[in-house]
Symmetry: C2
Subunit: 309 residues, 2 copies
Amino acid sequence: MPSSSSPSSPSFVKVVEVGPRDGLQNERVVPTAVKVALIDRLADAGLSVVEATSFVSPKWVPQMGDAPEVMARIRRRPGVSYPVLTPNLKGLEAAIAAGADEVAIFGAASESFSRRNINCSIAESIMRFAAVAERATAAGLRVRGYVSCIAGCPYEGRVDPAAVADVAKALLDLGCYEISLGDTIGVGRPREIRAVVDAVSRKVPVERLAMHCHDTYGQALANIHASLDCGIRTVDSSVAGLGGCPYAKGATGNVATEDVVYMLDGCGFDTGVDLHRLAETGQWISAELGRPTGSRVARALLAKQPPPS
Amino acid sequence: MPSSSSPSSPSFVKVVEVGPRDGLQNERVVPTAVKVALIDRLADAGLSVVEATSFVSPKWVPQMGDAPEVMARIRRRPGVSYPVLTPNLKGLEAAIAAGADEVAIFGAASESFSRRNINCSIAESIMRFAAVAERATAAGLRVRGYVSCIAGCPYEGRVDPAAVADVAKALLDLGCYEISLGDTIGVGRPREIRAVVDAVSRKVPVERLAMHCHDTYGQALANIHASLDCGIRTVDSSVAGLGGCPYAKGATGNVATEDVVYMLDGCGFDTGVDLHRLAETGQWISAELGRPTGSRVARALLAKQPPPS
């Protein structure tokens, strides 16, 4: 099934599955075996990138405390990348020891968010990431960069697209092969997202950009579609919308991979993802977590009945 | 607040609120006083069109059995239209007697759906509507037309955009001042919606078209945004997503007005709608119905807290 579409096709959109990391780090602690099964099932469904875990202090993120064990137990499917988050050199060394082939670093376009989220200024974070990126590259690992708060910050409100472009360019200059633009609090609307992508594209080739939308305000698919219009061909998403129960107060609201793939399928894009297998995986992990799926496509497919006769 | 935006402005998008009719006809029966308060509050929030009720047989739609009473009790706000659904001459006469100034007729782009929903072929439905439209126009009422199943039919699957265009043109020829294109089962994706709008626009001026999206598969805002790109400037939606609890099996899933207005606000369009008052109304009616809101914007606004200090 994944063989029918090729990343070299002009209609290919790469879907980066972030559920096991960006999703599960915001859910209750899940057994390692469940994480491993989730990652393997996602790769089997045709996803070519599955962000697997995060090498951070278990003091801060206990949900990711089993990162080395996860990496040891997943079945590495040929052609699939399993990036892991490494905020600092200590995390990077642990990731290298665990056999990671790709790491991700996480910057912000908002000073206040940077200070509160990673406890340093944007400039300081870039310096810190420079050491991580240099060491990772020397060790033969690919490095992915994230920019958070691209359309708004919980502390500062509006974020200037030029600030997003500056951080994205800095990450590119550090050697990141791809920069993911994250609307962390989901406040952006299509025109605003276009403005950000336009601003960033002037400093970073659009082929190197990914869109990472949260659906907190229901805008994620509209924003992703707008970014496709701007030439974006890489989209981050989370199976079943993991990482923010849409019914909970303060939900972070990752956009559901099922909903993204359904849209891409209908817009003439190839993803290599088998929607049916993906939706089954989303149902399974939702049941494991004891929560309803955050995917509307999954709910619709579940509700679908043969027409009344 | 509604005075700050004018329907004659090029950036004006008319939001047609369908919650009291398309929404409540798919919820449990609601007291007349609640319906009246809902309609009045929506008009007070700045909506210039509030579809109020349906003059259909209470045998088929008991939720709308109090249509004359609703029309008698609402406070008609100057400049606001209160269309009502009238599937046949009997309903139309009742609507005229109740003082309606605008009626709506409801056709389908799919033969199977037409037969199952209104028990006649598309051609027969147009003949039936001709009599309704003629009598309504003679009585000085405006007539709005709906075309359902524009992107897919629960019985036939894919629907040909040319078939949508034919029905839309037939409704135009009957004298409808506006034709609302409904993705009744919410299966369409942006490229498919664009294809439909393009096909219909060749037969009906785009200024006469409205987009009516259901969010069953989470595609509604992306589809509405795509239709705006095609020149559509009228959008139907339902406060709080009334008319299909998003958590229920078989949800019909009207797109929430709050989510539409939030997107339009951020895309440089004027709607005349006060999002805050609208969201309050959505919370109030959701509480009256004892169900969670279907609006993600409403949930996000509710969850919003001052940033941690």
